[in-house]
Subunit: 145 residues, 2 copies
DNA sequence: TCATTGTTGCATTTTATTTACAACTATAGC
DNA sequence: GCTATAGTTGTAAATAAAATGCAACAATGA
């Protein structure tokens, strides 16, 4: 069970932006974390389409938070970047082939478990995970040097 | 975010065995659910190695529960069949490459969320999800016919 | 007008998972 | 003991999903 690197990257972008409090370019972000610019591009794109960040092209452009960090719920981010939360086949009615779907009680339990997972990360906003920004930025600076 | 089909199959095996209250052969299980015998084999193997089921070769052999359904915790099953619960890269210290690991507060939150997921399925045993066995077996019978 | 910076779509690579295959071992009944 | 049944093991192949790369494009500010 894991989130995609895609979601992971989206979180990293938000954390970086919230930590610096400024806007950043795609190249800066990719270099800061030492990750694929290409993949990052798509994560940022998804963040933009979902209203978490704003982007501006051209000289002096870049990516910045579209709203205060305290108004960006972590669960909303995960829901928008993760392709799906189909824990088991039967969660997807359309494509389910499991013969006991409907009668099986496991489905409900796994749904509750997923909700519990969501509820937990739903307790926090981006602001909650961006307190130690100096330490964090120092870490990034040290590794990219 | 999802569990592997492997884990899914493991659950299906346990549910079947608990529902019939008898032992079943690999072929019977594969046919009942209409799924790949090959993959099922490995799931059963893992279940056996982790003490959830007992297997017997030869004529009249097959697979049966190694302990009462009420003593088989769903979370234990998931933990033994799922390859890992590395929700994000940094959960795996050995291979982590994220530069802010350690200072980043998201890790802790995702760990708590994962624990919440586990705690939820940990509330139940195989016995809890095997009440409506007749309905369930009828469903299987109908589809495999 | 040009350099900068994000956008889009498609192709490729990589990885993980799933499935298949084959040779093997154990067991029960005749 | 022979034979059919049934699980075991290891390896290989196929599939699917995710990650990465690339190239042509569009907007913006100096």
């Amino acid at each position: 069970m894991k989130l995609t690197t895609f979601s992971d990257y989206a979180f990293r972008v938000l954390i970086y932006l919230a930590s610096t409090g400024e806007s950043a370019s795609l190249s800066e972000l990719a270099q800061a974390y030492g990750i694929s610019r290409n993949h990052l591009v798509k994560a940022v794109n998804t963040l933009e389409k979902n209203g978490f960040v704003r982007t501006r092209r051209g000289v002096g452009g870049g990516i910045s938070l579209a709203r205060p960090a305290s108004e960006i719920s972590l669960v909303e981010v995960a829901l928008s970047t993760e392709p799906n939360f189909t824990i088991v086949e039967c969660f997807d009615y359309e494509n389910n082939t499991c013969r006991i779907a409907g009668a099986c009680r496991l489905e409900r339990i796994l749904q509750d478990a997923t909700r519990a997972f969501m509820a937990e990360i739903g307790k926090y906003t981006l602001a909650d995970i961006t307190g130690n920004s100096k330490v964090l930025l120092k870490l990034i600076a040290r590794s990219s040097a």
